[in-house]
């Protein structure tokens, strides 16, 4: 306990919390994506996936509580880091140039993070805390994406998630101390591939369902 408290009160410890929870979210995103890909196959496949998922019962509740716990840590730690980092430079530069290390993902992580938080709440209200017409989740999905506004909102949200994860993925390895000249380029590449998979994989679902493309 003391050891944990010692680690997590340091700046590096806070980063480690971001990395561990961020890794948890990446794994969640991957599982969630694999499940949702059944939507591209069709209504039956998706409903049978939903059935199997719900059949897990208490396991699902445990996973949900775990994700909520991780979310609280990731968001509150991220907020603390953001404020501390602003305060670490009270007088800003008149001229700001990127030297070549930053990416859009790294420079916007706190902001894309905040947008994702808003999206998560919106998304749960949309799909989780609702009665599904006829007891079928698919009906909710197709009703939601019959609205052009929702299609656009969801696609925009997935662009934001992809940008966040494009930095987050390699960054979590660096934070956990895994940076080696041989493997880092592979991790960097995997991060870009993962971000694209998440962006397109999730992002095209609203289009596919909504306009039956």
């Amino acid at each position: 306990m003391n050891t944990l408290a010692n680690i997590f009160t340091t700046s590096i410890g806070k980063k480690l919390m971001m990395a561990v929870t961020g890794l948890g979210f990446c794994i969640f995103l991957l599982i969630h994506l694999l499940g949702n890909l059944t939507l591209y196959v069709g209504r039956q496949t998706f409903e049978s996936y939903v059935e199997h998922l719900h059949a897990l019962g208490p396991l699902i509740t445990v996973a949900e509580l775990g994700l909520l716990f991780f979310l609280i840590i990731h968001v509150s730690t991220g907020a603390v880091l953001f404020v501390q980092n602003l305060r670490a430079r009270p007088v800003r530069y008149a001229v700001n140039k990127w030297a070549g290390g930053r990416t859009i993902g790294s420079a916007t992580a706190p902001y894309t993070g905040f947008l994702i938080l808003v999206f998560i709440i919106f998304h749960l209200l949309n799909f989780h805390f609702v009665e599904h017409p006829g007891g079928l989740v698919f009906n909710t999905v197709s009703a939601t994406f019959s609205s052009a506004l929702y299609v656009c909102l969801y696609m925009a949200a997935m662009v934001v998630v992809a940008i966040h994860v494009r930095h987050g993925f390699w960054s979590l390895f660096q934070t956990l101390g895994a940076n080696h000249p041989k493997y880092m380029p592979i991790i960097q590449g995997a991060g870009i591939v993962f971000a694209l998979l998440v962006g397109f994989g999730f992002g095209l679902i609203p289009l596919y369902i909504g306009w039956g493309i």
Partner: protein, 253 residues
């Protein structure tokens, strides 16, 4: 053959020792030889300013050959200017165009108090070293050379990390004013060598805590520091620092 000369306009941050706030002043820098270093250019400008009865621009410097780490300013938004792996004293005026306007600002970080104009107090970095960035040698008779074997690869890595001159460009360039590249270099340098191992855990814990206490920001892996570091220190040293801290805390009683 003498080098061509260029004319420039400088926008320089001026702030007296007792001023709460500073401001940019604009000065001409005429007939600057492109063979000059940035500091030599400032010397020429200061001479002109002195003749006009204007207080010369205060800036730090010592070796003027890129090894002491004293010089440094943000030039057009880039720490030590935009050339790779150079300090300000190694930045040559041939990298600037005739007629260009150059904006010169001091390192900006809460942990680096501004002393005057472009001079900042970097003693926060010394305080981090004092917290543990050393090895304790209880001196006795001199040892034989090579009495402690050091693998070649480790020696090379330690040498790369030891190249850090403590200039503070990493802090200045970091969007979060974090000193992680600096302490990554210092921790790695000693942790890689057998002489540094016995105190490695105590060292990394003390240095990280000191860094946090001094008001530096938190690293968010922006990697701007490694681009701006005049000694080419890599953020791999930060990854090593993170590993060293995790090891130290997990093994601590």
């Amino acid at each position: 053959m003498s080098a061509p000369t260029i004319n420039l306009t400088l926008k320089v941050w001026r702030q007296g020792r007792t001023d709460k706030k500073g401001r940019f002043e604009t000065y001409p820098a005429n007939n600057i030889s492109t063979d000059m270093s940035f500091l030599e250019m400032l010397d020429v400008v200061n001479e002109e300013l002195t003749k006009k009865g204007i207080e010369p621009i205060a800036f730090d410097h010592d070796c003027r050959e890129g090894i002491c780490g004293m010089c440094g300013a943000v030039i057009n938004g880039r720490a030590h200017g935009k050339e790779r792996e150079t300090t300000l004293c190694q930045l040559h005026m041939r990298h600037f165009k005739d007629g260009e306007t150059i904006v010169i600002e001091p390192w900006r970080a809460r942990a680096f108090k501004l002393v005057k104009d472009l001079v900042v107090d970097r003693s926060a970095l010394d305080q981090i070293i004092q917290a543990g960035g050393y090895i304790s040698v209880n001196a006795g008779g001199p040892q034989d050379a090579n009495s402690i074997p050091v693998p070649r690869e480790k020696a090379d890595l330690a040498f790369n990390a030891a190249a850090c001159i403590g200039c503070g460009a990493c802090v200045a360039a970091c969007p979060n004013s974090s000193a992680m590249l600096f302490i990554g270099a210092k921790v790695s340098h000693l942790a890689l060598l057998p002489q540094g191992r016995p105190e490695a855990a105590r060292r990394v814990r003390a240095m990280v805590r000191k860094m946090d206490e001094l008001g530096f920001g938190n690293c968010s892996n922006e990697a701007e520091c490694e681009v701006e570091c005049p000694k080419g220190i890599s953020i791999r040293e930060i990854a090593r620092l993170n590993r060293e801290l995790m090891k130290a805390e997990l093994k601590s009683a």
